[in-house]
């Protein structure tokens, strides 16, 4: 019989496979990094407490579900509002200053547009783009259908395209 994730090596491998994506997922929701990292720790501590009843295969959706619930509870209590994501450009190719400035402007507008997306759209979009998660993986983590993920993705891009038109 499956022993769940009570073995330390197993638990550790689960942590190393999922904790960063979980952190990012929570960060996309709230824009609050401290809270996101706090909730990752809480979710993993819950996983540890319930390690016997959670199999390795179920660990991922368990973690996302628990973290999501914790987030909702905190948000309800503290009436948290979304803060701006602090995603920054890091990798910039060499180019002429004029082009760089336009790029920079575009990036800022894009970041604002991402902030303005609904929580659902932003989360799915960034999980796909920044965490490189496939639609199937996102669906699994969030406990929704792949079709629903694709719809959110599409809607996110419809919104983001609007900024392009304003250029």
């Amino acid at each position: 019989m499956d022993q769940g994730v009570c073995k330390e090596e197993v638990y550790k491998s689960v942590f190393y496979s999922h904790s960063e994506r979980l952190r990012n997922f929570l960060y996309y929701k709230s824009g609050n990094l401290v809270q996101a990292e706090d909730l990752v720790q809480e979710a993993f501590s819950k996983l540890w407490q319930n390690c016997a009843s959670v199999s390795i295969e179920k660990a991922k959706s368990y973690l996302f579900t628990v973290a999501n619930n914790l987030f909702i509870n905190q948000a309800k209590k503290a009436q948290l509002t979304f803060k701006y994501l602090g995603i920054q450009k890091e990798k910039m190719d060499q180019a002429n200053p004029q082009y760089l400035m336009e790029q920079e402007e575009f990036r800022i507008r894009l970041e604002q547009a991402i902030d303005a997306l609904s929580e659902e759209q932003r989360t799915v979009y960034l999980m796909n783009r920044l965490d490189k998660m496939k639609y199937r993986e996102i669906a699994e983590a969030l406990g929704i259908s792949q079709k629903a993920v694709e719809k959110r993705m599409h809607k996110a891009l419809v919104q983001l395209r609007k900024i392009h038109k304003k250029v």
Binding site: F15, Q41, E42, I87, K91, L130
Partner: protein, 300 residues
């Protein structure tokens, strides 16, 4: 193919040839590519996985490496101690000079301070201290309730919202809520300065300030506070306060009209139904846990 997932399929490269041709003709292809490229070039805040894992490990480390220290004083059977290990989490932000420890609802957290003092946090409480100055100036900010065993040394101060408690090597419990403060001294001596009073307590002494707005002497009933053993204990306490504590303990919102009556007794912190029975039965109250498991309704 359906239109409401068109862009999603653009990203995953699943478009048909006609769809590709259409997107290119309309100029959408180029726009989407620019958006995707710019997004992909964004970078997230860094994540130190090892450090994050170590935070979880800290609690296990305490339990594993010093089991004696815990059982000697700690009033906790080994099994309970094992549950505690990951229950509380250390939030040490490396970039800040403030260290902070939270007690998560429903659990008790034990933590060691840099000077060897030891703090046990009740659920929903937190402490923080300045990592840089703590060695020279032992000062802890407390929100909620904690039990302290302080190593000998310079004055150790617990800063509260409306005052503080100073200590010289001792064991004591401080519980501060919106309108109540209770300090119990189990060993040594503490000095309390809070709102309008100053008071020194020695072993076996305690004081309570509550909704009656009068300070009263409430000596500790046992050798260490019962919540350390997972039991919340009350003496002649306002029943609203008891219900509030229960909700706080298990992380539920309590929905109740202002109740009358005083409660003397205890509830255990491991099972919400059991705790509700322990409080509601003697008070003649009815309870109902709502389906979403976030709130409890209390009626007469």
């Amino acid at each position: 193919m359906s239109i409401d997932t068109l862009y999603a399929r653009f990203i995953s490269g699943e478009l048909s040839e006609t769809e590709i041709a259409d997107l290119k003709a309309s100029g959408e292809w180029e726009e989407l590519e620019a958006i995707i490229l710019a997004t992909d070039n964004m970078a997230l805040p860094s994540y130190d996985m090892d450090a994050a894992f170590r935070k979880l490990k800290i609690k296990e480390g305490i339990v594993e490496s010093k089991p004696k220290a815990i059982t000697r004083r700690l009033w906790l059977p080994a099994a309970a101690a094992a549950v505690l290990l990951v229950a509380g989490l250390f939030l040490l932000n490396p970039s800040s000079s403030t260290a902070r420890v939270y007690g998560i609802a429903g659990d008790v957290v034990l933590t060691d301070l840099p000077d060897g003092s030891r703090v046990t946090l009740n659920s929903g409480s937190s402490i923080s201290w300045n990592k840089r100055s703590f060695e020279n100036d032992r000062r802890i900010d407390l929100k909620g309730e904690a039990y302290f065993e302080v190593s000998k040394g310079s004055t150790f101060r617990v800063q509260l919202s409306k005052g503080y408690v100073d200590v010289l090597g001792t064991a004591f419990n401080v519980k501060e809520r919106d309108n109540t403060l209770q300090v119990s001294c189990y060993e040594g001596k503490v000095r309390v300065e809070y709102m309008d009073i100053e008071q020194t307590l020695t072993k076996g002494e305690g004081m309570l300030y509550d909704d009656t707005k009068v300070w009263s002497n409430v000596p500790p009933a046992s050798e260490a506070p019962k919540w350390l053993n997972g039991i919340a204990e009350f003496t002649n306490a306002n029943v609203n306060h008891v219900l509030y504590e229960l909700g706080r303990q298990f992380n539920y919102a309590i929905i109740a009209n202002d109740m009358e009556g005083r409660f003397t007794g205890s509830f255990s912190n491991d099972n919400v139904e059991k705790a509700l029975k322990e409080v509601c039965a003697p008070m003649g109250l009815q309870y109902k846990i709502n389906k979403d498991k976030t709130s409890i309704e209390i009626t007469k």
